[in-house]
């Protein structure tokens, strides 16, 4: 079909969405991801029976944590589709892309940059003072 989806979407393959843990989702945001979504099989079609249900619960838990800490729970989502639904895959990728564009970048990235900048400035001042003395 050669359908196109936004290049901002990076795929991490897992054997089953039941493998996806809250830690994986949180770590993604800690490392600067703007959003993350889990694509599981249709409900009732899981090869391992409950992998996609488990993933949904974990996504919901990650949403609650991200909401509580001020990063935004909407940045993580769960979708279900079957492997033959390429147009739906693209639709979801676009939907998520648009959602993240509307939400803006991960606030932690900006904070990290600000903190690094202020640290550099402090070091610069210290260096300047040091050179002044010598």
């Amino acid at each position: 079909m050669r359908l196109q989806y936004p290049s901002s979407v990076k795929i991490v393959r897992v054997p089953c969405t039941g493998k996806v843990d809250i830690q994986h989702l949180l770590r993604a945001f800690e490392k600067g991801a703007d959003g993350a979504y889990v694509l599981g099989c249709m409900e009732g079609d899981c090869h391992f029976n409950s992998g996609n249900f488990r993933a949904r619960k974990r996504v919901e838990q990650a949403q609650r944590i991200l909401e509580t800490i001020g990063v935004g729970g909407e940045r993580v989502q769960m979708y279900n589709l079957s492997s033959s639904e390429a147009p739906l895959f693209v639709k979801i990728a676009n939907e998520m892309h648009d959602r993240i564009l509307a939400l803006g970048p991960n606030p932690l990235k900006q904070k990290k940059r600000e903190m690094a900048l202020s640290n550099n400035q402090e070091m610069g001042v210290a260096a300047a003072c040091g050179s002044g003395v010598s």
């Binding site: 830690q23 800690e30 991200l66 509580t68 001020g70 990063v71 606030p107 904070k111």
Partner: protein
């Protein structure tokens, strides 16, 4: 096992706000089994706290460590060399672990990261129920292996109260009447005659009524 439940992250944040070096300390025993305070939960809490403080524009170092147990000296000693690097420990072991960690390391404040609930069993994943209150005088031999102290809301010892209806307790229609369970069990094992034997008045001094308790075993002491 000791069953604990997670504390809301907001509550933990409130306790540790202002600290700059925090150690999240998990326990590999009971709280790992009840998915409240094991290595995985340490990772989740540490990750959430790191993101929270970063989002607040504050540099807070949050490290992770999970001990085999927090209720034994030898395992708690594992953090002796690093404990001074931190100005707070969030222990997500049960209340026993939190207290023992605090006893071992006087200079570092220790905060609980879970609510310790009871001694119980995993009925199924995500459902834990109480089975023992540690009353110090076990009656299970007389009650068909079902404990009226922990499973009866009134802790009564000789048959159900008037609130037992269709095998359920009056305080909660979903809660089994412990005495109904005991009677059914005694019948099933052919010991229903035991039900006629009255249990004597219980000595509650070995329960919490006698204050904090201890077990002294000179035969195993060094």
């Amino acid at each position: 096992m000791i069953v604990a439940d997670k504390k809301p992250i907001e509550e933990i944040i409130e306790e540790v706000t202002g600290k700059e070096r925090i150690l999240i300390l998990g326990c590999n025993e009971c709280v790992t089994v009840c998915e409240a305070g094991g290595k995985k939960e340490v990772g989740i809490l540490a990750s959430a706290l790191r993101m929270y403080f970063l989002n607040q524009g504050r540099e807070v170092r949050i490290d992770e460590k999970t001990l085999e147990r927090q209720c034994d000296h030898e395992y708690l000693d594992e953090i002796r060399d690093i404990v001074d690097d931190y100005d707070a420990i969030v222990s997500i072991a049960c209340g026993v672990g939190v207290q023992f960690t605090a006893e071992q390391y006087h200079a570092t404040p220790v905060y609980p990261g879970v609510n310790t609930c009871f001694m119980g069993v995993t009925e199924r994943r995500g459902l834990w129920t109480e089975r023992c209150q540690g009353c110090g005088q076990c009656l299970l031999a007389r009650t068909g292996g079902i404990c009226p102290v922990s499973r009866c809301a009134k802790r009564i010892l000789n048959g159900p109260c008037g609130g037992s209806t269709k095998g359920k307790c009056e305080i909660n229609p979903e809660l089994d009447c412990a005495w109904q369970l005991i009677i059914d069990r005694l019948k099933a094992v052919g010991r229903f005659d035991d039900y006629e034997q009255l249990l004597p008045i219980k000595d509650w001094s070995t329960d919490r009524a006698g204050g904090p308790r201890k077990v002294v075993r000179e035969d195993v002491q060094e």
